[in-house]
Amino acid sequence: MVLSLLKDFYDYFVAQDLFTKVNKKQRRLAGIYIHIPFCKQACHYCNFHFSTIMKGRSEMIEAIVLESRQRSDYLVGDEVETIYFGGGSPSLLDKEEIEQILAALTEQFQVNGLAEITLEANPDDLDPEKLQMLKEAGVNRLSIGVQSFREEDLRLMNRAHNSEQAHSCLENAKLAGFENITMDLIYGIPGLCNQDWRDNLERFFAFDIPHLSAYALTVEPKTALAHFIKTGSYAAPDEVQTAEQFEILSALCTERGYEHYEISNLALPGWRSSHNGNYWKGVKYLGLGPSAHSFDGRNLRRWNVANNAKYVKALRSGENYFESERLSTEDRINEYLMTGLRTEAGCDLDWIEGEFGLQLRQQLIKAASPYLETGKLMVKKNALKLSLQGKLVSDRIISDLFIV
């Protein structure tokens, strides 16, 4: 309860950006992302970097720890407010492995004692012992990949868990004392009708979980799903239905008091994801592990090689294992538009004017005008924002606003 109160207070600070304001002179905020590139089995839609071969797991953990040491100067003067284990399937990690990584991070960086430590977990990994272990290891936020409560959807997507596990893992997580929980749901799945989707959302509401990430099923190239659709084994996601399900999502969640604070993220007040929120605010982050991305908060992005063996080998031998790019002014503007417009806060036109000049502000308003006329975009309190209908075609709108 105390923790929960503290959490509320903390979230309030994050939401209001008070940390940045308070700490502006002393410490900057930063996040750390750790990529755990292993999965039990491959989901048909996934194009993230992972391997289903567990061999070399301990070498991988060692390499990640090694990388954190090598890059200890990356966050000098920054306070780490969020740590995020993503993947892959970080819930495959055992207690020692998590502790080993967290210990290295605490050793190398200034980690806030109240830092949000999120771990992505698969329902089938979350038995009571595992949950207890995660809690002891220091994880205080769980992101659970439920995806659907329906058996047929889970099978179509080749998830490792079944419908029963989707329900029980949430029960177990709450019993283990986790309050800060988010789960993923996927909509637009072929065969998932609008009523099925409403039922999935109702089941989510029934668990009284404060955060939801809801993703439209995306057919990424070179995935099994893309192959099955191409060969006609599966139907392609229906665009109209997907759009309707997005509208249902927003309506039902808003009714229940959730804020649709980013295109794919909804939270009860005070329970937004700090870590992900920082990506959209342009906060600095360090990414560890194969394929992980880092951003210096200004204009340098870099990303590690997306190959487990190469990553481990390069770290051991001191070879280069990453690529980087320096953002031009145009890139920075475009990234701000891309990430900002997806959020509830939108893009702050005053900030744009201050940072990039009046001309850019005017140029953006001009480019936005067809969408302002149709109500897909709006300007509220000097912020450019997407309406619900605008969110549905946000890629197109953002691209049209881009400076190229």
Partner: protein
Amino acid sequence: MQPMENIRNFCIIAHIDHGKSTLADRLLQYTNAVSERELQAQTLDDMDLERERGITIKSHAIQMNLKLDGKDYNFNLIDTPGHVDFSYEVSRSIAACEGVLLLVDATQGIQAQTISNLYLALENDLEVIPVVNKVDMPNANIEDVQDQIIDLIGCKREEILSASGKTGEGVPEIIQAIIDRIPAPSNDGGTKLKALIFDSVYNSYRGVVAYVRIVEGQISKGQKIRFMATGNDYDANEVGILKMDYEPKASIGAGDVGYIVTGIKDSKEIKVGDTITLATDPCEARIDGFEDVKPMVFAGLYPIDTDDYEDLRESLEKLQLNDASLTFEPETSLALGFGFRCGFLGLLHLEIVQERLEREFDMSVITTVPNVSYYAFTTRGEKILVNNPSDLPEGTNLDYVEEPLIGAQIITKPEYIGPIMNLCIEKRGRLQGQTYLTTERVEMSFELPLAEIVFDFYDRLKSISRGYASFDYQLGGYSRGDLVKLDILLNGEKVDALSSLIHRSKAYEFGKKLCAKLKELVPRQQFVIAIQAAIGAKIIARETISAMRKDVTAKCYGGDITRKRKLLEKQKKGKKKMRQVGRVEVPQKAFMAVLKLNE
């Protein structure tokens, strides 16, 4: 200067892919005209485009020297293009020679293009040395091909040489035959300069360089020369012979092949086929056979970025410097803005111009539907040349339209007569005659509307005959046809760049196919798009593109940002290249949709 009896001028006639350039490389190697280092596949083809496509676009010439039996021989090889689009250039090259190597692929036999060029050579009294090439191939059918050659030119079997450009087999025999059988150039007794221009190339340092065969007299550096067709006089700033590079000489004389630099900057001033003489002491008559080459196919070329209009004009002007057969004049389109109506020798020529603009001038263009030249007759009795469907007089002003016809020869195996007949009838062709050249080869003659062979005729002919049909044509006259103007409308707005003139019997199917193709090519937008085909006010086909309901990325976290940003930037760049028709954004490839109707 070389005594005339030691000079041999020859060219090679071959169908495309029959190995002409490779054999030429072998001859160059044998005579040490190129070093091993210089030798790359298709040495004579300068343009990257030529090497990549394995075809010769421009003619080329090179001199080879060989000492044999105590004599110093000069061989001038004039390389010629093999595609039907460029047959005039071939005819001029032939006119510059005394002999010809008739190269026939042992696996494919004689093709129509080869025959028409061979007739050209025979008309010019050239000595023909038949060579069966690719004899090393496992599917070589040497005897059959020899039979075809004997039937065709009436030579003896032992006069036919065998060769392989790949292995070099037969090359010394070919050299010997060139010496023994091709006559040395003869001087008709004239002493006044008479030189045939068989090609010209543009060089950014020297201007236009004329490639010439000196027929009579001689030319020295510094002399004042006259181009007889244009009547213009110039100074011969430099004369010389053609090796791998230009080799300047004090003068070149009768019988020889060489080049003349005049400092001309505009290739239009030098016309292939023209005769050069001395301004101070001109010869009496021009060399026969000169023609002003006329374009056969027209299309609009528009800059992708409307601001690049002037750059496009400059690029076309530069391109025209070494491609005199390209014509262009400004035109405007509602859909595409300011551009040029360009004339080409054929579709291959169009493609080549488009690619050269892109490669050499970094100029991407939108090309409209190609069409041929029509004559429109108005009710008031005027005759109007129509190179652009939009120029067709509207409604009641139009009396009738005439379209150009061609005479076509197709040579094939008897088993493909049926399918080819069907194709030609579908293309509104009329069979004029059918002759068996041998029991296995038949020549069919058709009269066809030129417009019908511009699109997808050649490819379909090849596919229905499994490659065993060759095709050649000559322009015929004009004939009245039931032609209508088919318009395309997007959300009710006419897209002028997509209008075409088409025979009424084909308009419905064509309109339907074109609408369906456009549906594929025009991306969905945030509103419904109606695509319609119309003849006048009558809509004959329609397709609908539904509105885009959803275009949103699911995940946009730390690792997604760079990739997503680049993707959206790319989209925006692509959009910039699109053209606006009303509210509808149309990608450039949609303007070429007509060419891809059957894909």
